[in-house]
């Protein structure tokens, strides 16, 4: 079910090559879309960056609020991290092309995350 939801999201947004559902409390990626090109170490790095960027309730890494979405734009990728509204430890880590239609993708990705988070 969860894998299918990630694959459907990937089908709708093929420019987002990697979609990984992760648990920040354990800093583990639990499942990814089938066509991801990231290996285990790469997925671990994604999860670690998500944990760093979201910080903790007591100590946000940047700012003084609880961010729900983080965008990391590098030379090669746009990495997007979404945190579930209901389960703050549940995050969706996304590696996207720079020309991704952000608003369209965010709408679908957030719906996907909340569905997965509710079901798991």
């Amino acid at each position: 079910m969860v894998a299918e939801a990630l694959d459907r999201l990937h089908d709708r947004h093929p420019g987002c090559e990697t979609l990984a559902f992760a648990d920040l409390s354990t800093q583990m990626v639990l499942i990814t879309n089938a066509k991801t090109t990231f290996r285990r170490e790469g997925l671990d790095s994604l999860c670690a960056e998500a944990a760093l960027a979201f910080g903790t309730d007591r100590e946000p890494a940047i700012g003084d609020g609880a961010a729900r979405t983080v965008f990391v734009a590098t030379r090669d990728h746009l990495r997007i991290y979404l945190r579930s509204a209901h389960e703050p430890h549940d995050v969706l880590c996304c590696v996207c092309a720079h020309d991704t239609a952000i608003d369209f993708f965010l709408q679908d990705a957030r719906a996907c995350l909340e569905t997965i988070s509710h079901d798991v």
């Binding site: 790095s45 670690a48 960056e49 760093l52 960027a53 946000p60 890494a61 940047i62 700012g63 003084d64 609020g65 609880a66 961010a67 729900r68 979405t69 983080v70 965008f71 990391v72 734009a73 590098t74 030379r75 090669d76 746009l78 720079h98 239609a101 952000i102 608003d103």
Partner: protein
């Protein structure tokens, strides 16, 4: 000119492959190419040992104390209105950025339509306390809004200015020195002071082989609900608050400017 300085000038002429000399002075810019102010900053950046650089800008002669790729200050100025001499005789300091900016405005005025800028490198003369280091050339570029890629502004300045309706406040720094602020930076100051470098180091530890420009945007990163971001490219950095609905525009703009 003493025999010694004549010898130095000749040796420099021999050592410089593409340089053009006029009356023993090396030409930095002619007919606006390269941009005169950029050429002066580049010369400061290339000066490691303590020297007095004598720049002639269409007859205005500035003697500058330069060391460690930093401009320490103006020793004196000749061939310009006496009011300009208020800028001379003191060391530029990072806690008095206004003076450095005023000097930048003055130099920009001199350089605006300059047909020829030349430089001579003389032995260092004393200026202020030797422990006062001055301002790094890299910071001068930001403070004086020079001219990174022929656009008249640095990349970061272009990005911040180009998105000004969506970026409600920012801190802009070059080589670690704050070179500009806009809007209410109350929430941004502690990020720049306490969080920026710590985040950068930890992020680099995660993606060790990642280099180049970096933009990190946090939707809801401020406790008043606003979005906040940090950005870096080259030796420039910024912290800014932005309208979260504009994230797509901001990402596109960043990609365009940094690629």
């Amino acid at each position: 000119m003493t025999d010694h300085s004549l010898l130095v000038t000749r040796l420099m002429a021999l050592a410089a492959n593409d340089s053009v000399f006029v009356g023993g002075a090396r030409v930095l810019s002619r007919a606006g190419l390269p941009a005169p102010l950029t050429a002066i900053i580049t010369e400061i950046d290339a000066t490691v040992l303590a020297r007095t650089l004598v720049c002639d800008i269409d007859g205005a002669v500035l003697r500058m104390a330069v060391a460690g790729r930093r401009l320490r200050g103006l020793i004196d100025i000749g061939g310009v209105a006496p009011a300009a001499t208020a800028l001379t005789g003191r060391v530029l300091a990072q806690d008095d950025i206004a003076t450095t900016k005023t000097l930048g405005v003055f130099l920009a005025g001199l350089c605006k339509d300059a047909q020829q800028v030349t430089v001579r490198s003389h032995p260092a003369e004393p200026l202020g306390n030797p422990s006062e280091a001055g301002i790094p050339a890299a910071s001068l570029a930001g403070l004086w809004q020079v001219v990174d890629h022929g656009t008249g502004q640095s990349r970061m300045a272009q990005f911040l200015a180009g998105n000004s309706p969506m970026i409600t406040a920012f801190i802009h720094a070059t080589a670690g020195v704050t070179t500009g602020t806009q809007g209410d930076t109350t929430k941004l100051d502690p990020i720049w002071r306490d969080q920026f470098m710590a985040f950068r180091k930890r992020q680099q530890a995660i993606f060790a082989h990642q280099d180049g420009p970096l933009l990190v945007c946090l939707d809801g990163g401020l406790d008043d609900g606003r979005a906040v971001a940090i950005a870096m490219t080259g030796d420039e950095a910024s912290v800014f608050a932005y309208e979260s609905a504009a994230i797509s525009t901001i990402l596109t703009s960043w990609h365009r400017i940094t690629h």
